[in-house]
Symmetry: C3
Subunit: 668 residues, 3 copies
């Protein structure tokens, strides 16, 4: 749904901070925006200190002038509440707003992400500001969205948080005995007699090394608590705005795969999802696509807003490579192909001071309209005006991959069997294989409806929460196909082991995993699947079939000839277990095999490096062709279609040429 | 002596934590123990919080039931005092029990090893609990040993420790002038006028980088003090138990080569030594053997208890490889071959929660008796019943290697000449060469009797404490053979240099070391010894003979043709100096040369990879043959013997086959 | 000028700490000094604790005896004020003297560099001691210099420093609006309303990672402030001494390229420059020479004192290699060739305890006069007596390289474009190329006179302070030649960007830099210059000429065929811009090209590895020939000269042989 409401065009623009410049620059900015087909600005992201000089004083005069100017110039506004960094005076007078780090050291004023989410000061003044802003600007009909704070994240370990954590635990567990049981405190004699004996898990208590913990239970709960604490801050501002503007469309900008916050839980309380896309040079394109699909999946596969991307270069990576000609355009269309309905930049004009002054911008320090970057921004702006019909189109997926923050946290808190167990890596293994086949994928949470899919994959499904096993049982027995992996089914939501592995998934999978061998770096076992040899590494489950059929066995070590991949017919469906980690080729071949067994089809077949993605709404079906390779590629059109960017018809069977980095969008 | 007392069988079992499970599981455990020939359980290791709900309240009801049950089932008990982790309520109400880290940050409740050894609270309640336990269970004649706390270790830098440190210094030095002299405080003007000016050496004062110090003297004293502080805690509990049970056999479990505590000093105050053996995958088997020999040597070469080993897998290593079939058996016999009289596991039943839930156990999460691990445990249990005669047998060594905590500490606190000077590495150089020749080795302290040995090796004997030089002088002049190395003889027990190198060893060695060159990584000089070329690295001492004979000289650099290895005839003995670090081949060849000169003989000669070890008592001589190679190996029996495990006679000259990982034990 | 005053010989000696030994050793020291031609001792470096036992008590009795002894033995004295480490009692009674680290943790007593520069206690007692010392010893005419504290450095973040920082800011900026503008606080809403809201930039506020900052402006100001704070401490002692001894010659010993203090600013307040030279094994000889030239340049190209070097070995490097025969002599002459007038060692006698006991010394632990090191020291001492005429000779340079602490700080605080931008590396690129050609180089500050030079090179001249652009404009238009590089001209002294790149240098260079691409490690572009191909890495500026001529263009990427090196004729001079980083060969070839264009000549041409350096005064011209290669080298004398060390005449055209590491000094 993106901004939704009355928006009828692809919104295009980005973060705009006119308060950093003298007002005579503003007029020039308006000219440059218009010339580049920019139609939306995100305002007010970091203005708290200037809007509120003291506890009881607000000064909106400059923002009034800005709002007036952008309205006159026909720009839509995404209005930020500017609570992403508190004022210096507030930190000085109300130090409870400052965070305490994982070593127990209280911070001073500085940076951003700097407010304690359980600070009474923060919880008072942040929503107050949101209320004041919405009261003052509620009649601006060009405000299409509200943007609370900025990139929520981080964590705090102060005394207010400790008290709030105890309260949170009391609400969750009711009595201390349940806490003891859930945390298994009998181990190492950590039995609590009172909630007040519980301290925050950090480097002063249960943590050590690099985010390792001695008690997974409490550390998991702290993650849930901290995510909830910030979500409460979000909701306080949300409610303040809604009190003034009941139909406001409210979001906050998410960040990539951000481990600290359970975005799936957050999305429920947001009107739409938006996010900031800053891949590293070493990220594969499939990882970027996965993240877009994740964002789409957070809120029921609805479209979202690409709130930030750089038009050219970041400044905060170790080495900041520029986006080459065509690269920004390609990445913008990639976002749209996977569900974005608006394309925005950080930032419209480049700051002259402080740490982001070398971050790319539409208007750079030279202030000229003849730079390569400006020209490319302008050209894309022109194209996007042709794509309004795509708004709200959805992705028709038959396959889903489960992504769950609790599993991410608990897998990586696990002490043993191997530090090489990485949740994202395993998700990418499966996503990437399907993505390269042009098979549309939904990223779903553990509570989402499974019945919509022919294929559900849950890599590293270590923790089985709530009735997930029962829902999987129903899904598979009802005809669904399920794939899971080593280190799955082991624990309940307290991170307590639930018996022989893979626990509650045993009957569905028809196996018993007796042991888990861990392989050191570069150590490999191997197996043969459909006549081809693949490596097995990191974890080698040693298992017995109990109903399942072994599709492949290990080739060496003392567990040679024991199963590594199994298939279990369960009711009307089937369940696969992959007991070790293999390589890219295996995942591709294995998923080809499974998909062909159950009839999961690609959008269309394309040559290597060309992505074909589909979005569908009542205005038509929209095919995106994106050439990620560094060479020219041909695609034979499988149907008649209309080329939206070039405004020409293309016939079925025609050969379409995509040059390096080119993108085409068709309606059919 | 191991558990000693009336124990007449090889005890076999391990840590058992029934308090983590509902009682109906306990009966099943008894069945599984009996079936696996398990005859001892270590109880109560982490029960403080459950045994003592408040300052004046104890609750032994559950432990009573456990003690009753295990007695009924004929199990011996190693009774832990459970003071290895304090209760949460105690930390909350008496925060002096919490430790302060080396950065001066006070910890909160959490983890284990968490009590300040100079905390009045800890020193009050820990011995009180030990007293209560011994009072309550003193009539259980199946208790064969008492296990104080658990794996003592770590360190504290709180104000109580600072005060205690000043007191410790006052007792040691009497007056502040002596402190100034011993620490050489005139350097950098650190002169103290009063004991109260002295602060703990840590990252707030004299330390920096990775455990480096600006004043070695105070840092060494802190290590001695911290080891003593914990030893006092041990002794407080020890005395409490002895007050109730004068003939109790008391230990605490040591850990590998643990640098923080002077185990040699501790062992004096313990009734027997026990330790926990958890090698890393990259540890050589000779290192494991060395550690067993070290433990045997701590208490006069008496036998010891292998208190913990994993039956299958650890969880806390980065990658936790499983012990393959036969590996646990081999490692158990290795322990016994080097002096263990009891073989115990951590743990008997696998926890379902917290950080060690993926640590191996005899009974794993599946709870079944048909797992590979359970079957191997049971099979070994059966074998051990045949080896009771070996109890208390000793190792007949003619060679000894000196191991000394003060030297370990001071060598590695040294600023210069090279960070590559590592005490353990040098000890391993010599141990490993003798071990591979099947030459029995005693690991001795600097105050142990030297006259028992034909050969004494003291690698990196940097610090000469007390009258060690005089005792070495007597030993060598009396006919002994002594080997030492570069960076030896330099300082006294205050870490003050005692003149021209190698200080008080100069006359014994007959050399003067003028300079010490340090070689960067991979840089090598070389020398020829008995016609063969070897590398020289890390340190190259540049020396002059003053009576000694050069056995070999450097081949390059400006000190080409100056001595690197010397031999000095001193009285009726000889002293060798090895002025640089070489490679495995050199140590093997050099020690073959020295041993053949003085008639130090192997147990028997075996093929590569087969270890032959001897233990002797009044019931016979016991030969262990252990095949560490990954192939079958033959051994020709040099005498008639009785194969204890297979219960057959073997004749002199017969060829015995040891398959991969096999072990045989003979009496002759 | 070195010690200047009445000194008429090359002073030779070093740090001497007799307070560490019993007095009977002192007489032996005198014998050994005399025998080695040592004529100066630096006394009293770390004696504060022994000189001042309490607030109101001084005890100079031992120093009196030392002063008496060295005077009797004809030794000159460099008198240290011993305030480089405060007494333990002072730390205990006046904890404001202790520093607080960048994490806000207050240190305890220990180490050195340990006094807070804004501590009232330190600012009271340090000058008081300097005053007492100068009062007591002012009549010793053998004191040739005063040595304040020792190796000033480090930093503090305590509350006194925070208050002092606010005061410093208030003096600099007058009002808070100017601070906000200069720091661009509108970014991220860091607007201050009052100076009291400003906190020190450290890991509690704006810093993160490895010395990265979120606000460059405040972090730069903190560096300036901390350098100034210590300089004030220096000046307090300086003034105390001058009150007693108006013509005292006062210095403090600098350290290598020390980033923390703006030595250029400090040198203004010192009577002469002295420094401690401890290269690492991996440092190139050109880097050592550069550092000598830097020290000479700090105070107007006057000669300086080599206050410390080791005669043999350091102890604090990871691996401490010994200086081989001849190496100490060569390094001593290298210092003299680049402007040293005195050669001193740390230390004359080796400590027996604490962290520097394995640091080399003229007299080592054996205390003998027949060591290699002592013999080499003695031999050099003998030679130096022949070189008195060289005192105060200067270096005739036509080329200068700009070195500026503000630029060093700001380049490396920059967030983007690449962490591989290292100020020193870029300075070394250019220095090393000229050095290898025997072209004399002055290292100058941004405010030094440019008109003396034919060539001025300013690598990474990121920040243009004051009127530097105007002075460069005048210099170039007046006929000078100027070279600068990528990442130059970008900001003003607040680190605010000043428009299109390279900002105020645009007209001088005749270019516009539109984009800066950053290349990952080992990634390279390339270009051809004068027919030869060179690599381009780290940064590739993408630029347009605006008057300049492209000398070379990139060979690949989308900016293929755009300029990488440009030349601009500007008035009567020319300005070169090098838009990327290349390799050693390029810098050599490029500077050969430029130097030959403008007639900058080497001292003489020599074979590879032989350095030729010139010093000139009214007693003659002095040519140093130094053979850095590891082989014999010939030099053909270009003029008649007198060999000062061998005391023979050499004729023009004669071939002089320099063996490995040899040095010759000629007057002509």
């Amino acid at each position: 749904m993106g901004y939704g409401g009355d928006v009828t065009e692809v919104l295009y623009g980005g973060d705009y901070n006119p308060e950093q410049w003298p007002e005579h620059i503003w007029e020039e900015d308006m000219r440059l925006f218009k010339n580049a087909n920019i139609n939306i600005v995100t305002l007010n992201v970091f203005s708290w200190a200037s809007l509120q000089p003291s506890e009881n004083e607000y000064d909106f005069s400059k923002l009034d002038r800005i709002m007036q100017l952008v309205k006159e110039n026909g720009l839509k506004v995404c209005m930020a509440t500017s609570t992403g960094a508190h004022p210096a005076w507030m930190a000085k007078r109300h130090p409870d707003i400052l965070r305490t780090d994982a070593y127990g050291i209280k911070r001073k004023f500085g940076g951003r992400h700097n407010s304690c989410p359980n600070s009474p000061t923060y919880r008072k003044y942040a929503p107050m500001l949101a209320r004041e802003l919405s009261k003052r600007y509620k009649n601006y009909d060009n405000i299409v969205g509200w943007h609370i704070s900025n990139e929520f994240g981080g964590e705090c370990y102060c005394e207010n948080c400790e008290r709030a954590f105890r309260k949170w635990l009391k609400e969750k567990y009711k009595n201390i005995e349940t806490v003891n049981k859930c945390y298994n405190t009998a181990f190492w004699g950590h039995t609590f007699y009172d909630f007040d004996e519980i301290v925050l898990p950090n480097y002063l208590s249960e943590h050590f090394g690099n985010e390792q913990t001695m008690f997974q239970g409490i550390s998991l709960d702290y993650r849930r608590f901290m995510s909830d604490s910030m979500l409460e801050c979000f909701k306080l501002e949300y409610d303040s705005i809604k009190m003034e503007i009941p139909d406001a469309r409210i979001t906050t900008n998410f960040m990539w795969f951000y481990k600290g916050l359970d975005y799936k839980k957050w999305a429920k309380d947001m009107d739409f999802v938006s996010w900031d896309c800053y891949p590293f040079p070493e990220d594969k394109i499939s990882t970027v696509a996965l993240c877009h699909d994740l964002m789409r999946g957070l809120k029921n596969q609805n479209s979202f807003v690409l709130m930030e991307q750089t038009p050219s270069v970041t400044n905060w990576q170790p080495v900041n490579k520029i986006k080459k000609p065509g690269e920004m355009r390609l990445l913008s269309y990639l976002a749209m192909a996977h569900g974005a309905d608006a394309i925005q930049f950080f930032q419209l004009r480049r700051s002259i001071g402080a740490c982001e002054k070398f971050h790319g911008a539409v208007i750079d320090h030279a202030g000229r309209d003849d730079t390569r970057v400006y020209r490319e921004v302008k050209s894309l702006g022109n194209e996007l005006t042709k794509l309004s019909d795509i708004l709200d189109a959805t992705t028709p997926s038959e396959a889903a991959i489960v992504f769950d923050w609790d599993n991410w946290w608990s897998v990586e808190y696990s002490s043993g069997p191997s530090i090489y167990l990485k949740y994202l890596d395993s998700v990418k293994d499966y996503y990437s294989a399907l993505y390269k086949k042009n098979i549309p994928i939904d990223i779903i949470g553990v509570n989402d409806d499974l019945s919509r899919y022919k294929l559900v994959i849950a890599p590293l499904l270590y923790m089985i929460k709530d009735d997930l096993d029962e829902r999987l049982r129903r899904y598979v027995s009802g005809g669904g196909t399920f794939i899971t992996t080593y280190f799955s089914g082991l624990v309940n939501d307290c991170d307590l082991v639930t018996g022989a592995y893979p626990g509650k998934l045993k009957d569905i999978l028809g196996i018993w995993v007796e042991e888990q061998d861990a392989l050191v770096e570069n150590e490999k076992n191997s197996f043969i699947f459909n006549g081809k040899r693949y490596p097995a590494g990191i974890i080698c489950d040693i298992m017995h079939t109990e109903g399942a059929k072994a599709l492949s066995c290990y080739e060496s070590d003392f567990y040679k000839d024991t199963p590594v991949i199994t298939e279990n017919i369960f009711g009307r469906g089937r369940a696969y277990y992959v007991g070790s980690r293999s390589d890219e080729e295996f995942y591709s071949d294995f998923l080809s095999y499974v998909c062909s067994e159950i009839g999961v089809e690609p959008v269309i077949h394309t040559q290597n490096g060309v992505e074909a993605t589909l979005r569908v709404n009542d205005k038509g079906k929209f095919l995106f062709l994106i050439n990620h390779s560094s060479e020219n590629r041909d695609v034979v059109m499988p149907f008649d279609a209309f080329d939206l960017l070039n405004e020409v018809d293309v016939k079925e069977g025609a050969t379409v040429l995509l040059v390096d980095k080119d993108v085409k969008v068709y309606r059919f």
